[in-house]
């Protein structure tokens, strides 16, 4: 029990003193996950929007595929990206394995289905009367689509934040493709796993606390956004 309390005290001391190693790991985590989220949003939001607004052959299959990929096991994604980027793999010539870019790639694959699928859900739950109202006021089909996307903004934002939550907490994929190299590809979750193995609980605990604070912040933001979205009553 004393060692746990001691671990917590040392962890708080690391946070309070803004330990350089700790800060480096946090910034790298945010950079990798932030970049992955940005890329998955740039691709995922338009994909989710098109699937939500347009009817085309194969649409149902794509929706099922996206929903299935929402629960992709990170180690499987890690393995897949590893095979692609390893020296003997099709993209091995790029020399990306064990770099932050490889981690961004893996996390993008994990976040994309979440962003796209939740964006699609947000679009299809917009009351059809909104599209009709836009048309009666003289909107072109493109302007009508933009109006529907605007109405779905809170749901779309929730999807993006959910994607961020997923990649921030992920460990399996980035451990495989990043290699957990100190000062280069070591992020919060991989550090926690490594330091726990080594019995260095103070750094693991400090990062665990930061991760929990980030998770709490994400959930508070999500809650606020969802409350704003519930104003939609379809009058």
């Amino acid at each position: 029990m004393n060692s746990i309390i001691e671990g917590f005290l040392k962890a708080f001391s690391l946070i309070y003193n803004l330990d350089q190693e700790l800060l480096g790991i946090i910034f790298l985590s945010l950079e990798v996950s932030g970049t992955a989220l940005m890329i998955s949003s740039i691709i995922g939001v338009p994909v989710g929007t098109v699937i939500g607004l347009k009817k085309f052959p194969g649409r149902g299959f794509i929706i099922t595929l996206l929903n299935t990929f929402m629960g992709l096991p990170p180690v499987v994604v890690g393995l897949f990206v590893y095979l692609l980027l390893s020296r003997s793999g099709p993209l091995g010539f790029m020399g990306l394995l064990y770099t932050p870019s490889a981690m961004v790639t893996a996390q993008t694959i994990l976040a994309f289905p979440i962003v796209a699928s939740l964006c699609h859900s947000a679009i299809v739950t917009v009351d059809p009367i909104i599209g009709l109202a836009a048309i009666t006021l003289g909107a072109t089909p493109y302007q009508k689509a933009i109006t529907i996307v605007k109405e779905a903004r809170y749901g779309i934002l929730s999807g993006i934040i959910a994607g961020f939550g997923r990649v921030m907490a992920e460990v399996g994929a980035i451990l495989i493709v990043g290699g957990n190299i100190a000062g280069y590809t070591r992020v919060m979750t991989t550090t926690i796993a490594l330091e726990t193995d080594k019995g260095n609980f103070e750094l693991a605990l400090a990062l665990g606390i930061i991760l929990l604070i980030i998770s709490l912040t994400i959930n508070i933001v999500l809650h606020v956004i969802q409350r704003k979205g519930t104003l939609k009553t379809g009058k």
Binding site: I129, I130, L132, A133, I135, T136, L137, G138, T147, L231
Partner: protein
């Protein structure tokens, strides 16, 4: 009125049953036309067809400007508007709801501000301009819909049961707004209602839709 609407031999089925059965009419004079009929008689469908929101199964809807047939493109659609019974409030402020139709027409900010203020004054909602539109009462929501439709200066405006879901006080306010529109004479107004007394109060021309047939009733 420069835009004339001619509806010729319209047929429309709903769930396999004939709803509109050879309906024809010319809306060729400024004023207020009121379309009455029992619930389910096809009033809303008729209005949706007239406003190009729905296609008839058979028959034609044509618009003429000074005797010349007008092409049914976005330009024509921007000269007419339909206020649905559930208006479709955008999740934003009252001002932004009303300015929607002007923004999509790329009008200048100053012009938008002026016209929106004028439309809000017309329906008595100027004091609610910055309020979230979804927090308005049902009567105010209906008035917001009228302002949103009027601000774009339509030549033909269709109002589908504008007082169906509002209280007596708001019904009177909305009727006053419609009478003001009638006096302004800027647009031709076509209203549906199942309230005969209201129809008598508002109509220049009274139309009755019954058993799929449309007929003009002499007041």
């Amino acid at each position: 009125m420069s835009l004339e609407l001619v509806v010729s031999n319209i047929f429309k089925k709903y769930n396999g049953e004939p709803l509109l059965n050879d309906c024809s009419f010319s809306f060729n004079k400024s004023g207020t036309y009121v379309l009455t009929g029992p619930n389910g008689s096809g009033k809303s469908t008729f209005l949706r067809i007239c406003s190009l929101l729905e296609e008839p199964d058979k028959g034609e809807v044509n618009f003429y400007s000074e005797g010349v047939l007008v092409k049914k493109d976005i330009e024509l659609k921007r000269r007419i508007t339909l206020l649905l019974p559930k208006i479709g409030v955008f999740n934003t402020t009252v001002f932004k709801n009303v300015s929607y139709g002007l923004k999509i027409r790329n009008l200048k900010v100053g012009e938008i501000e002026k016209r929106v203020n004028s439309a809000l004054d017309f329906v008595g909602l100027r004091n609610k301009k910055t309020q979230k539109a979804l927090t308005l009462s049902s009567g105010e929501t209906q008035r917001l819909g009228i302002a949103r439709a009027l601000v774009i200066d339509p030549e033909l405006i269709f109002l589908d049961e504008p007082t169906a879901s509002v209280d007596q006080k708001n019904t009177e306010i909305i009727e006053d707004i419609i009478l003001k529109m009638k006096n302004d004479g800027k647009s031709t107004v076509v209203i549906t209602t199942h309230d005969m007394a209201q129809a008598e109060r508002l109509a220049d021309k009274l139309l009755v839709l019954k058993n799929g047939k449309l007929a003009e009733k002499v007041k």
